[in-house]
């Protein structure tokens, strides 16, 4: 289209003659200005490129930093959480073992109480025996008294026998005292045995209560630890997810930064075309063929936008992946 328009408006010869001096001046200005423009564009291009490269490097750093952080947190999530869970389980097991040990203690206490109770049977027998000793003493006493009576009836002849009877009576008294002492001792033993049984049972009761209470408390603490642990891993997972999202965003931004390549290409092309135009301006004026120049320029375009601009269309930004390299 542009070529057509150029063709349709050729400079008419009369105006050409009038404007030749002005055209020369303009040509001279173009000769002077074109290298400057080209340099300006080059500078802009170089600065943009440098800035973009630095920006890209920064973004890449951020991405790799986030990557490292994610890797670390994954490691700690993978190793730390199971550690804690295992510790909890271990705690539970230890608690169960302690409870078992205490149960065993209670069992042995009960066995002890049982044995003490069975002792009571023996002490019962002992006190019966002590009673028998008392009975025998009583009967011996009666015997001795009867002997003394017999001795008295025998008169002088029974005198020696009376002494024997007296001694037997003393013995029976001793036996009675001994029987009484045995009874007392057995009674004391019975009392202290029943006291022991009572104390033992009381201790077993208190112990059982304490054990149950401690167990409940430890269970409670473990449960609290567990829920705390769950909350911590939950927030760690959230953090990981957010970090990953940010990383993805930044990586995408990095892709977006590739626009620099296209801009650079376009600008470089403009600059090189300017230099080309400058060369042609220095050539003798008759030799210049504008149509040929534009056609040459169009042939060297590398992007779709350039081609569209050349044809007078609006150059919409196109997707990065649509870039064609030749």
């Amino acid at each position: 289209m542009m070529l057509m328009r150029r063709k349709s408006t050729p400079p008419d010869s009369a105006a050409q003659a009038d404007e030749s001096t002005a055209s020369d001046a303009l040509r001279q200005t173009c000769l002077d200005a074109l290298p400057i423009w080209a340099k300006q564009i080059d500078t802009a291009r170089a600065q943009t490129e440098q800035a973009i490269v630095e920006l890209s490097a920064r973004f890449a750093d951020i991405v790799s930093g986030l990557d490292a952080a994610l890797l670390d947190s994954k490691d700690s999530a993978a190793t730390g959480a199971p550690d804690l869970a295992a510790t909890m389980d271990d705690g539970n097991r230890q608690l169960a073992r302690v409870m078992e040990a205490l149960e065993a203690i209670r069992d042995s206490r009960q066995m002890l109480a049982q044995e003490i109770r069975s002792l009571a049977v023996y002490t019962g027998e002992l006190s019966k025996m002590a009673d028998q000793v008392g009975m025998i003493a009583f009967q011996t006493n009666m015997l001795a008294l009867n002997a003394a009576i017999e001795a008295a009836h025998a008169g002088e002849a029974g005198k020696g026998f009376a002494v024997v009877a007296h001694e037997v009576r003393q013995l029976s008294n001793s036996a009675r005292e001994t029987g009484k002492l045995i009874s007392e001792r057995v009674g004391a033993i019975n009392e202290s045995l029943s006291h022991i049984v009572e104390t033992n049972e009381e201790a077993a009761r208190t112990e059982g209560d304490a054990v149950r209470e401690s167990g409940a408390r430890i269970q409670d603490v473990l449960a609290r630890f567990r829920s705390m642990n769950m909350r911590i891993s939950q927030s760690a997972a959230d953090l990981r997810n957010k970090s990953a999202a940010i990383k993805d965003d930044v990586a995408e931004s990095l892709v977006q930064l590739q626009f620099q390549d296209r801009v650079g290409q376009i600008l470089a092309h403009v600059a090189s075309t300017m230099r080309d135009l400058h060369e042609r301006c220095r050539e003798p004026s008759g030799s210049h063929d504008g149509v040929q120049f534009l056609a040459d320029m169009a042939r060297t375009y590398t992007t779709e936008e350039q081609r569209r601009n050349h044809q007078g269309e609006t150059a919409e930004p196109i997707a990065a992946q649509a870039v064609e390299f030749f």
Partner: protein, 176 residues
């Protein structure tokens, strides 16, 4: 012969040590004594066989090697309430009466203590009044280890005539 007889009589008149021997026993927490020569033996308590129409102080009879022996409850005889029988209760067999009229009786006591010697000089006469039992029952007050023991006069306490008259009165009452 005469000298021998006289020797015999002097031996009889001499104070024999066994004549001063006494059996002490308990009745209602009080200690009593009986001369040992009147006592035949001591039996463990056995439930006497009840005899109807007898006064309260006769608990019944026991079989002493075939002989029927009445058992006297001394508490009842003294007009006191009888103590309950315990495993220490005994029956003391006593012989009363003169040479030609002997009676064997059982005496129920709470417990027998001992046979001991109370010398004549340690025996005081019965008090005119203030004793816990009838004065004519008391032969004397024997001092044993600083305490007085009532020595019973068994001829009075176990007087067959008196007891028979009491039983007769009972018989009369039952008959009327």
């Amino acid at each position: 012969m005469a000298s021998a007889a006289s020797n015999q009589s002097t031996a009889d008149n001499e104070p024999r040590h066994d004549q001063n021997q006494y059996l002490t026993f308990m009745l209602d927490r009080e200690t009593f004594a009986l001369g040992i020569l009147r006592i035949k033996e001591i039996l463990e308590y056995t439930q006497p066989t009840d005899i109807p129409m007898m006064p309260a102080f006769i608990r019944g009879v026991v079989n002493l090697r075939g002989a029927v022996v009445p058992v006297i409850d001394l508490c009842a005889r003294f007009g006191r309430p009888s103590a309950p029988v315990s495993k220490k209760s005994c029956i003391v067999i006593v012989e009363t009466g003169a040479e030609d009229d002997r009676h064997v009786l059982g005496v129920l006591v709470d417990a027998v203590n001992e046979v001991l010697e109370i010398p004549q000089e340690e025996i005081e006469p019965a008090p005119a009044f203030g004793a816990s039992i009838r004065t004519d029952f008391i032969q004397g007050m024997g001092k044993v280890r600083g305490k007085f023991v009532i020595i019973l006069d068994e001829s009075r306490v176990l007087s067959i005539e008196e007891m028979e008259s009491l039983t007769g009165a009972l018989d009369m009452r039952a008959a009327s």
